[in-house]
């Protein structure tokens, strides 16, 4: 055999398996403009839908008149709540156990809320007709400030549930209160604070932002009246769940609903939920009998679909004088907008915020989260992070810096003193998690050495002296962040979406020639799944990755899965992929043994072949075995070579990392320039280092955007300020810093290949690194905490507040 006589290294290289910087399969079509995105789809007779939206944040609807809109040539239908009501689709359930109006009938609760859906023969006419819908309003006082939501005189927003004292997550104390979520030991934590030698307390706000993938949310719905079948092509990060929920809501049997997520132009959490546009496109297709396309524009996307964060966190740390932490107490006021459409596993109203003890060995901790309604768009999605993990990481990483500053201890040193030690893993946190693995001290040491941390602090000290002497107007900030993520939801005992356990799946078929088709329940939005899943299969089965085709996103062909978000694809579907491969390999071993005429215990797998133990010249390649699977299986064995795996992870994974940001700030302009950004990530086994680095670059850029400028801001009337890319900060290549990446490898002990997931780490760890750098620059002048975003104007204002402006 030629293939076997090659060197082992050559055979491994040919596979392009785990660890290989394999070039992406997806890029071949994307670089030629041959991607297949929703808006590229053109069906015969297709109509276009567009919304009429509310200009007010809070108003009663007196009358909706669609006469003029309907009269416009080319308009086929105009839907309002009145049309949806008989179908019981004027309201829809949210992932968080609340309901959301699909089209507002009696009241509008946020600016941009959907009121009427106009369907026309082309998108220009639909837009014209949307403007012709006439609505008479009675303005109501808007509630914009979440700190006022539960005031006795606050306007009641949700009249539909005003008298309900019990919500999906327990008692409600006020008509604008959604839930209180509590975790940890209140009594023991209070006691830790009573006896604490030192404590700090700070309100740390994480402003409302938006994931804004470059492709907005969109769908094409096509209902076949004859067959009673509905097909929806859409921007769905979780297509299977959309189908199940669609079946429950519409009454169309699940097998007659076909959900197809084609190429997706970025998701970042924006495309997990179900939005009124999808529902209206489906209803419009049923009503008109024609395919209906809905494509939101950018202003609609920023205004109405899926904000993120808006967490107002009061963090307290108790510690000894030596800087050893003894307790953590956090209260969060969570602004959920007009409907609780938070995209979390159903039993977790504040996501996994209880990862807020971070990388530190807190003996006790206690967290409460209060969710409240305001007259703002619904959402609360996990924008490039696992559920509420970036909020938690920001909270603890800022609070640790504040503690360090109070004690006069270096920020890196305070972290090192409190890290969970390597020998403590698996580590049970005070807030209930079991951290699977970690080696924080090694990672931190590597990071500090890589940037020359001590020299940077010395330089900073000298600069501070110069600043005090009036010789410079530039400040230097060093931001240290050490984050621990919790990703890969999740064990079905903990996590479900509307009752569906959060496992994931892979179905792999090896064809006679050794070519493989693999399908997963996840859905890439740019992460490169077609490339990386194939690498896992290559390593597990010994078939070159180039011979593997990976498919996702079609609910008819892909096995049931919960989709891609919360960095869950690698912890769940990649694990399922390895598990399915191992089932295939076990059968292949039986076939190989049969071909080699030995007992199956006497053969072993080696890179790409089975060989008889102790007789390396007696070999059958996996390719040969694949052929034999279709014509020469041993007696009693079924032909064929395929397997499916539904993988319910035993635990989540806990990627971690050390990020260091060096920043120079011009006090007179407020402009902060990132001089250096070093990111060390430990995501366990590295499947494709090129893709990991790309994920880190992208996540850091989003973190930079959030920390240094992004904000979905409202005025006191609930008007959204600047809902376009003119105002909402997306950095260009000019502002974006250069990224340095590095890594350590601490494999997950429970994952079949030891991988942990990485896509969201840079966002989670990046935001505190930037914010800590800004705060660090001003700390020696007496600043304790400067709120994000750190755009030049706010930085200038912070300097002014410290008396630094002349």
């Amino acid at each position: 055999m030629n293939e076997v006589s090659e060197t082992r290294a050559a055979r491994e290289e040919k596979l392009q398996g785990i660890g290989c910087r394999r070039k992406r399969i997806e890029d071949i079509r994307f670089t030629q403009g041959k991607g297949n995105y929703v808006d590229d789809l053109k069906l015969p007779g297709m109509l276009f839908g567009d919304f009429h939206r509310s200009p007010y944040a809070h108003a009663r609807i007196r009358r909706i008149d669609t006469t003029k809109a309907r009269a416009l040539a080319g308009v086929v239908a105009v839907l309002t709540a009145t049309d949806l009501k008989p179908l019981k689709l004027d309201w829809m359930p949210t992932l968080a156990g609340d309901v959301q109006a699909v089209l507002a009938g009696e009241k509008v609760l946020f600016q941009g809320q959907e009121i009427a859906f106009v369907v026309a023969t082309d998108r220009y006419i639909a837009a014209d007709a949307a403007d012709l819908v006439e609505v008479e309003y009675e303005e109501l006082p808007p509630l914009v400030d979440p700190f006022r939501s539960m005031a006795p005189d606050a306007p009641i927003l949700r009249e539909d549930i005003a008298d309900k004292t019990e919500g999906a997550h327990g008692k409600r104390r006020h008509p604008n209160h959604i839930f209180t979520w509590e975790v940890g030991d209140r009594e023991a934590t209070d006691q830790a604070f009573r006896v604490a030698e030192v404590s700090v307390k700070q309100l740390i706000s994480y402003q409302r932002v938006h994931p804004s993938p470059l492709e907005t949310c969109q769908a094409v719905a096509s209902f076949d009246k004859i067959k009673g079948e509905l097909t929806v092509w859409g921007t769905f990060q979780a297509p299977h769940v959309v189908r199940t929920v669609g079946a429950i809501l519409s009454g169309i049997p699940e097998h007659k609903i076909h959900i197809i997520a084609p190429d997706i132009g970025g998701g970042f959490g924006n495309k997990v939920g179900v939005y009124p546009g999808y529902v209206c496109a489906i209803v419009a297709s049923i009503v008109t009998g024609k395919p209906v396309k809905w494509v939101e524009d950018r202003i609609e996307n920023l205004t109405a679909t899926a904000f993120a964060r808006d967490y107002h966190m009061t963090a307290e740390i108790a510690a000894t004088r030596e800087g050893k932490v003894t307790g953590l107490r956090v209260h969060v006021l969570a602004d959920h907008g007009a409907f609780d459409a938070c995209a979390d596993p159903s039993k977790w109203p504040a996501g996994f915020f209880n990862i807020v003890t971070g990388s530190y060995d807190f003996p006790v901790a206690h967290v409460t989260v209060d969710g409240v309604y305001t007259n703002k768009a619904p959402g609360g999605v996990a924008y490039r992070c696992s559920f509420r993990v970036t909020e938690a990481a920001y909270c603890i990483e800022r609070a640790m810096d504040i503690l360090a500053h109070k004690l006069g201890v270096d920020p890196a040193e305070i972290r090192v003193r409190n890290f969970i030690r390597r020998e403590q893993f698996p580590y049970h946190s005070a807030l209930g998690w079991e951290y699977d693995s970690g080696d924080y001290h090694t990672a931190m040491k590597k990071a500090l050495e890589a940037v020359g941390y001590q020299a940077l602090r010395t330089e900073q000290g000298a600069k501070q002296e110069k600043f005090r002497r009036g010789e410079t107007r530039e400040l230097m900030g060093i931001g240290v962040s050490f984050f621990t993520e919790i990703v890969g939801a999740g064990p079905s005992k903990n996590c479900d979406i509307l009752g569906i356990a959060m496992f994931d799946s892979a179905e792999i078929r090896v064809h006679p020639t050794g070519a493989i088709i693999a399908r997963m329940g996840t859905k890439s939005q740019g992460q490169g799944h077609e490339t990386t899943y194939a690498q896992i299969i290559a390593s597990e089965l010994g078939i070159p990755a180039d011979n593997v085709m990976v498919e996702e996103g079609n609910t008819d062909t892909a096995p049931y899965g919960l989709g891609t978000y919360g960095s869950r694809s690698t912890p769940t579907a990649a694990a399922a992929t390895a598990a399915a491969c191992r089932k295939i390999r076990a059968k292949a071993q039986m076939i190989a043994a049969h071909l080699l005429e030995v007992h199956h215990d006497d053969v072993e797998f080696d890179i790409d072949s089975f060989r008889v133990k102790g007789m390396p010249e007696r070999v059958k390649t996996m390719k040969e075995v694949a052929w034999a699977a279709y014509n020469a299986v041993p007696p009693g064995l079924e032909p064929g070579l395929e397997a499916v795996s539904y993988y319910d992870p035993p635990n989540m994974t806990y990627p971690f990392g050390a990020y260091i940001c060096v920043m120079d700030i011009d006090v007179d302009t407020g402009v902060a320039k990132v001089r250096r950004f070093y990111a060390l990530d430990d995501c366990g086994t590295r499947i494709n280092p090129m893709i990991i680095e790309g994920q880190v670059h992208g996540g850091l850029t989003e973190a930079f955007a959030i920390a240094m400028g992004q904000e979905i801001a409202y005025d006191e009337m609930g008007n959204l300020k600047g809902p376009s890319f003119m105002d909402f900060f997306l950095p260009t290549a000019v502002e974006t810093p250069h990224w340095e990446t590095d890594h350590t490898v601490t494999p997950s002990p429970h994952h079949p290949i030891g991988a942990k997931g990485v896509g969201e780490s840079p966002n989670v760890g990046g935001v505190p690194a930037f914010s800590n750098a800004v705060n660090d620059a001003f700390a020696f002048l007496g600043a304790t905490h400067i709120q994000m975003p750190h755009d030049p104007w706010r930085v200038w204002k912070a300097a002014e507040a410290l008396g630094l402006q002349k």
Partner: protein
């Protein structure tokens, strides 16, 4: 709405069409000519996903009317590879350097880079960053895009040097 006749060249081919005066060039390309490579990301000319080349300039086709392209010579991502299917150096370099992830900004980004390299065949990193500042990418953080453009510039320079020799 009354339609206007336009005549233009798209990727080297003569095109004659009737368009409404208000039809945007991006919609004309995507919906009438089925050239779906260029995308719409913002409709306000910030993101550059719709970038195509018109008469030797990069334009954001979401803010150009189709009627303004009457008589123009247009090139889109679909017209970048050689007629025999050989990919352009930029297309290869974007893949080689992992200069794309979701692929949505890519056609616009590559077309902008294509024009940039004609304006400045040997750009520095800073010049590349400035040169693509009208094109937003949400996935890559630009670093690998900059590498890719730089690498493509070197490849093109190498090829033309070879041709000259």
């Amino acid at each position: 709405m009354a339609k206007t006749a336009i005549s233009l060249t798209v990727n080297g081919e003569k095109v004659e069409a009737l368009v409404e005066p208000r039809t945007l060039l991006i919609h004309f390309l995507r919906e009438q000519l089925s050239l779906t490579g260029a995308h719409i990301g913002c409709e306000t000319s910030h993101c550059g996903a719709c970038t195509v080349d018109m008469d030797g300039q990069s334009v954001k086709s979401c803010t150009v009317f189709a009627v303004q392209a009457d008589g123009a010579d247009l090139r889109t991502i679909e017209g970048l590879a050689a007629p025999d299917g050989t990919l352009h150096a930029l297309q290869n370099a974007f893949r080689e350097w992992h200069g794309l992830q979701c692929g949505f900004c890519t056609p616009g980004m590559i077309m902008r880079a294509w024009r940039l390299l004609q304006e400045n065949p040997h750009p520095s990193e800073a010049e590349i960053r400035f040169g693509i500042a009208g094109n937003l990418c949400r996935c890559t953080g630009y670093q690998n895009i900059v590498h890719a453009i730089s690498a493509a510039a070197a490849t093109i320079a190498g090829a033309s040097k070879e041709a000259a020799e």
